[in-house]
Assembly symmetry: C3
Homo-oligomer: 435 residues x 3
C-alpha cells in the first residue's frame, strides 16, 4: 500500500467538506427506524456506494426484536393563547424519541408528567427516548419550563408507530486479503453533531479515501446502522463471516470536536487494534486519554460481547459523557472542520499501520555492510544519525518473530518512521517478509 499516503493526510479543504456534510445532515430527525434514517443514508450514498437494507419490524435478532417503525410529522404544546410554546419544528430534540401519537388538553400538572428538562444544565434541551415502553413526552430547557404558567395546554404529537422496517447500510471495499477491518458507526440520533454526526461523517470520508487506493492489503467493511438494535441486527445476519474474517475494527463516534483523542480499549486491551491505536496515540506527541472497556457505551457493547467477541475498539475525541452529551449543547458549534479532519487523519494513520504491519527477518548473518550499498548517508548530520540508528535498530530486532509494530515499540520509534526504511531494506534484499 505504498500509494496510500493519502490515508495519513487529508486533501486541502477536506475538513470544510466534512463540516458542510454535518450542516446538511443536522436538521434531519433520525431515530432507531423511520424516514430520517433513510434520508441520512441516501445523502451518504452520494459520496460512497453504500448498500441499504430494510429489516421488517418484529424480526428477531439474538435476544432482541425489531420495534415498529416510528415517524413523526409534527408535535407541539400550545398555551392558553394558542401560541406554540414548544414546537418540534424548532428542534427535533423537543419530542421524546418514539413518542406515541397523542392529542389532548392538559393542565400544567398533568403536562408536567410528560416534560423532561435538566435543572443542572438549565439552558439545554435534553435528548430522551423511550423505544421499548410506549409513552409520549416533550423535552425543553429547564429555564423555559420554569416559565410555564398554570393553565390548560393543548398537546399534539402527530407520530405513527406502525409495522415497517429498520434501515441500515453497509459497504465492502475489497483488498487483496479477505481478512477484514470493520468500521461501524450509527445513524439514529436526531439533531446532535458530535454524537452522532461526527461518526457517520468520519466513516464516510474514510471509506472515500480507501476507495481511491489501489493495492489495499485488507478488506474494509463499513456499517451504518442504528445503535444497539442496529448492530445486533447486523451481527445476527453476518456473525459467522465476521468472526472468521474481522481482525480489527472501530466503532466511530464522538470524533468531531477539537478536543484531545481518547481510545476505549477492547475487553482485554491487547488485541491488534489496541496495540496499533495505543502506539499511534502514544507516538503522536499529543495528549490523549485511554479508557478501559468498563467505561464502554456504544456498539462495542455488542461487538465485544462474549458471544460475539470481535476485536473492536473505539477511537474518539472527547468521549460521550465527558461533554454536554445527549443535549442540544451537542450542536454544530461543538464540532469543527479541524476536529473532523484531524480524526480522519488519525484513523488513517491507524489503518495505514494495520496495512503496513508485517513480520520481517533480516536476510544476512551479522550486521549488513550498509556502506557498500550506499545506505549510509554521505553527509553526517543529526538527522542522518537518527536515520542510521533507526535503520540499524530495525535490522537488529527484525528477527522474524516480532512484527513491525513490536519492533517499533522495542526500539522506541514511531512505526510510521519505519515504513520508508522497510521499503529500502526490501529493495536491497536486506529484509524479507515471513508472514
Amino acid at each position: 500500500m505504498k500509494q496510500s499516503t493519502s490515508l495519513e493526510s487529508n486533501a486541502p479543504g477536506t475538513g470544510e467538506e466534512m463540516y458542510s456534510l454535518a450542516r446538511r445532515l443536522f436538521p434531519i430527525c433520525r431515530s432507531l427506524t423511520g424516514d430520517g434514517v433513510r434520508e441520512t443514508l441516501s445523502i451518504l450514498r452520494e459520496i460512497i456506494p453504500i448498500e441499504t437494507h430494510e429489516v421488517p419490524s418484529g424480526t428477531q435478532a439474538f435476544d432482541w426484536e425489531i420495534p415498529p417503525e416510528w415517524n413523526i410529522r409534527d408535535a407541539y404544546i400550545k398555551d392558553d393563547t394558542g401560541k406554540r410554546v414548544v414546537d418540534f419544528a424548532e428542534s427535533n430534540l423537543h419530542v421524546v424519541g418514539y413518542s406515541i401519537p397523542f392529542e389532548g388538553r392538559l393542565s400544567l400538572q398533568e403536562l408536567n408528567e410528560h416534560l423532561y428538562s435538566l435543572p443542572e444544565q438549565p439552558d439545554l434541551i435534553p435528548y430522551i427516548t423511550s423505544y421499548y415502553s410506549p409513552r409520549w413526552g416533550f423535552c425543553l430547557t429547564h429555564r423555559q419550563r420554569e416559565t410555564l404558567a398554570e393553565g390548560t395546554y393543548e398537546v399534539c404529537v402527530d407520530s405513527t408507530l406502525e409495522p415497517g422496517s429498520l434501515t441500515y447500510a453497509d459497504l465492502l471495499i475489497k483488498g487483496s486479503s479477505d481478512r477484514q477491518i470493520l468500521i461501524s458507526t450509527y445513524v439514529c440520533h436526531p439533531s446532535m453533531a458530535n454524537n452522532e454526526l461526527s461518526g457517520p461523517i468520519v466513516a464516510t470520508f474514510l471509506a472515500r479515501q480507501l476507495l481511491e487506493l489501489k493495492n489495499l492489503r485488507y478488506s474494509y467493511r463499513f456499517v451504518f446502522a442504528p445503535e444497539t438494535i442496529g448492530s445486533i441486527v447486523y451481527l445476527s445476519k453476518h456473525l459467522e463471516e465476521l468472526r472468521e474474517k474481522v481482525i480489527a475494527g472501530y466503532v466511530v463516534t464522538c470524533a468531531g470536536d477539537p478536543g484531545p483523542f481518547s481510545y476505549l480499549q477492547t475487553p482485554n486491551g491487547d488485541s491488534l487494534v489496541d496495540k496499533v491505536t495505543k502506539h499511534v496515540l502514544e507516538n503522536s506527541g499529543e495528549e490523549y486519554m485511554l479508557y478501559d472497556f468498563l467505561t464502554r457505551g456504544s456498539d462495542e457493547r455488542q461487538y465485544c460481547s462474549p458471544g460475539v467477541n470481535l476485536p473492536i475498539g473505539s477511537l474518539m475525541r472527547t468521549k460521550y459523557g465527558e461533554y454536554p452529551y445527549h443535549t442540544s449543547g451537542d450542536n454544530l458549534s461543538f464540532v469543527t472542520a479541524g476536529g473532523l479532519a484531524g480524526s480522519l487523519a488519525l484513523y488513517g494513520r491507524c489503518l495505514e499501520t494495520i496495512e503496513q504491519n508485517a513480520t520481517y527477518r533480516v536476510t544476512v548473518c551479522g550486521e549488513p555492510q550498509l556502506s557498500k550499498r550506499g545506505l549510509y548517508p554521505t553527509l553526517s548530520t543529526k538527522e542522518s544519525g537518527k536515520l542510521v540508528r533507526r535503520m540499524m535498530n530495525l535490522l537488529a530486532f527484525s528477527d522474524g518473530s516480532r512484527d513491525l509494530l513490536s519492533v517499533a515499540e522495542r526500539i522506541g520509534e514511531p512505526v510510521w518512521e519505519l515504513f520508508p526504511i522497510v521499503d529500502r531494506m526490501l529493495e536491497h534484499d536486506l529484509l524479507e517478509r515471513v508472514d
Copy 2:
C-alpha cells in the same frame, strides 16, 4: 450452597461462646504428646464429631520419629524456707516443655543453668520447649529471677517421658464433590491464648457451621494435631489422598486478637487460596497485612514443602512474632470474643467464595435485553444504578474463560456482591456454568 449465608455471618453470641471455650481450654497443659492433648480434643469433641487417633512413640514419619510421650504432674523450686518460689501449679509455662524428671538440691549458680527468662520483657514468663534433647528447666519472669537470693534450692520435676503415643484428631465433612478444603490447626501449646487456642477454636466453630449446611459443594477436612511432628505424621498417613483431592486450605493460628488480619501466602502466592483470600481482604475495606512465604512459621512449612506441595495459606490476625508471642503475655486478655468471631466470619467469607466460585458463560450473543425480563430496576436510584452496572459488567466479562473471582477482579467488585446476581442470571438462563 445458597443456604449458606451463615458462613459469612455468625449467630448472635457466637463470639462469647468461642471465648468461653478459650477460658475452658486455657489451663490445660498441652504438649506434643500427653494427656493434655487428649483432654483438649475430648472437649472439642463435645462440639464437633472429630475422630481421635493415637500413633505410637517411635513411629517413623517421613524424616522424623515420634518422640516418647510426656506427662507431668507437678514441678516446683523451693527456697531455703521451703516456700515454692516457682510452681507449675500456678502456670504450666513455668516448666520447660518435655522436661525430664528431676529431684535434687542445687545452689543458685547451679540452678541458674536451668532457668529461662526474658531480660527485655521482664514481666513475662517465656514459653520454652526441648523436645529432641533431654533436659529439664524452669521459666520465670526476669523480675522474679532477679530476686532469687544465694542459697540452696530444692527442685522437683515430677514428669514422665515414656513410650506412649502422639494424639491427633480429624473430621471429614462431605460435600457433593470429593475435592477437599483442608483446615489444619495445632493443639500442642500450654496456657497461651492466641497461639494456640484461637486456632482450634476458630476451626471448631467453622466445622460446626459447615456441618449445619446442606448442599456443600466441596468436602472439608479438619486436622487438629501437634505442630510440626503432628502435621508430618498426618501427611505421612494421607499424602496420596491429600495430593489428589485438596484444592485449597488454611493453617489456622493467631486468629483471636482484635488486630487487623494478615495472610501468609503459599510459596508462589498464586494458588486459589491466595487469590480468594487476597480478594476478600482487599475488598473488606479494612487494613490488612500480606506476608511472603519467606516469613512462614507454622504447619505451612510442612504442607507447602516441595515434596508435599499442597496449596495451603495461613490467615491470621496479628502474626506470630509480631506480638508478645510464646510468653505468658499471650493470655486470655490478649484475645477477645470479637476477635475470635471476626476471624470466624472472615474464614466463612473465604470458604463461601471458594464454594461459589465457578466459570460462567453468557448464553446470548450481544447484550441480553434485560428490560423484557424485568431485570432493570423500575425505580432508578444510585443503588439500582450500581446494581445494573454490576449486572452488565458481569455479563460482559463472563465469557466462559474467566472464573467468577477473575470477573470480580476485572470489573472491580467484591465477588460476594456478584453471588446473588449470578443466581438471578442463572434463573433467567442468561448465564450457564461451564466447568
Copy 3:
C-alpha cells in the same frame, strides 16, 4: 568445580601483573590487520596457549569482505623548517587507521582537509579510521592544530595496503560438557588502554585461571579478533557449532578503569548470561549500570544479530562513550591494576555462578530434621541464624523446577552464599540434582 574458588578471587599481585601486560602492549600499533595484531597475539600466547589463524584478504564473510592488510612504518608532517610537527613515532594515534601511502608538499589549507582534531576536547588526539574508503589523514590535538602557521608542509605516510591476511586467535578449554561459554574480545585498536587493552588482558587472565582448574563443567571458547570484521569472520567459520553449543558468553571490553561496573544486556535481556550477571551485580553491594541492547556498540552487534542469535552480553566498567573514549585520553593512567583485577574477579564470579547453577530437588517430604544430622549450629548467633534461614529457605524452594539462581532470587540471597550450603545438603542426601 569445588576447587574453583580461585575464579572468585585473584592471587596476590594479579592486578599488577595485568597492568604490566597493559604497559607492554600499549605502544604496539594494532589495526584490523597487520603485524601489530600478530605481535599482540604472540605476547598473549606467552601466557595462554591460543592458536593463531590467518584469513586472506578478499575472503567473503557473510555480508563482508576482508580488506587488504595494512602496515605502517613511519608517518609525519614536517613544517617549513623541516621539523616533524606531527610524528607517528610519538603516538600511533597521529595517523588515521588504514591511511593509504602518501608523500607530498601541501599548503596549510590543503593539509587541513586531512587533519582531525576535537575542538571540544582540545588536549586530546582523536582515534580515527577509514577502513573501507581509501584516504590518508593525521590526528592531533586541537590545541596543536591551532598553532599550525600558514606555509608549506611536507607530508609522508609510509604505509602499505596490500593483499595479506586478517589475523585472529582462539582457545578452547574443555570441560566435562561440550556446552560452551564464549568469551570474545578484540585486538584492533592502537595505543588505547581501556578500549581495548583491558579486554584482551582480562580475557587472557581469565583463561589462565580456567586452565588451572580441574573439573570444569562447561567448555570455554576464547576469541581474540579485530572488532566487527573479526567477529564476523569468526562467526562465518564456526556458526553452526556456536549455535549448537554456546549457552552464554561475554564481549569483554572497557574493563580496566576503576569506575563502577556496567552491563549491556542481550536483545531480550532474559537469557542465562543476563540473569547471572544482573544477579551478581545486584548482590555485589556496589553501584552499577544496566544498559539496554539499544546502546550496543561492540561485537555483540554481530553475536546477537538476528541471523546469529547467540546469548552474549557485555560486562564492562565505564562503558564506551561514557569516558574520553577513542582518544589519547584513554591511556595507561585511565586504567589501574585494581580496575583490571576487579573485573577479573567479577567475571570469575559470573562464570562460577554459571558453573554451579543447577536445578535441585529436596529428597524428603516435609521439612528435614536437621538437628539429628548436626546441621543446626550448636551455638546460636546472628550469623548462625542467618545460615539456618538460608539453609531452610534453600530447602523450602528447591522443588526441582527452579534452578539455584532462581531460588537465590526468590529467597533474596546472593547465589554464591548458597554454593557451600548446597554442597552440605548434597553430602547429607537432602538435595538431589535433577537436570
